[in-house]
């Protein structure tokens, strides 16, 4: 595999990992709000 294809594959893997992390965030719930209930 040429150096060009190495960076291309790395870019697509990064992209897939980012979207997978968003899907995981939706699955697990993510951060909770720490603010109060409002006034």
């Amino acid at each position: 595999m040429s150096a060009d294809w190495v960076v291309v594959v790395a870019g697509y893997v990064l992209c897939a990992a980012t979207w997978a992390s968003y899907a995981l965030l939706l699955r697990r719930g993510g951060r909770r709000r720490r603010t109060g209930g409002g006034s």
Binding site: V7, V8, G11, Y12, T18, Y22, L26, T35, G37, S39
Partner: protein
Amino acid sequence: MRRVTDTVRAHPPRTLLGVAALVATALAVPVDLVLAPPDRLQGDAQRLMYVHVPSVWTAYLAFAVVLLASLGVLAAHDPRWDTVAVAAAELGAGMTALTLAEGALWGSRSWGTWWTWDPRLVSTALLLVLYVAYLLVHSLPGPADRVQRRAAVLGIVAFAQVVVVHFSVLWWRSLHQPPTLLGPDQPAPIAGSMLSALLVSLVASTLAGAWFVASRCEQLRAAGAAESAAPAPRPATASRGDEVVAGRRG
């Protein structure tokens, strides 16, 4: 106790968005990696454009949503706008980080360096810092309406940096190429086969972003509703005197 994750129910329009994003992605990958021709000068490394440009496009769109929703927070005092702004800021921050990482990969091949103090790179890094700051401000303890208003002000002001990032390659001398699709030269200086591949990727990324924001909004609303329904904590104990957990006041 109901789990927050259980409240993100199946919702036909949102499910349709998710399916459409998956179909567009399944179409985009072979088009980008096989059907689109390699660049005459940059070779196959230029294929990074098909993830780099959609990432920053999605970030721009997300930050535009943060801007509009923040205006909604200040004008309408409706917490639903705040939820939209937070979901969009989370998407935009992640897409900006992805843009920087993909740009570093591309730069390593085309410029011979992963990073340089170039106006486009520095302004994009600052864009990421601003929206991470937005999320941090939003997570500060305090009365919800005050926190939401402060974050909304930052969400409005920070959008100016999107303009700076976009025009940085025109305003200053930059290693980065000027905008291709949204640049002053029309028709866009790009081969038709490459443009088609890029448009498919842009559609896939936009659909995926819309799916995420819609899903995350419902999740954050459910979390907020569950928190509001929870019994308030006891404010003081014998050992802590008058100390009150600041985040639970208001």
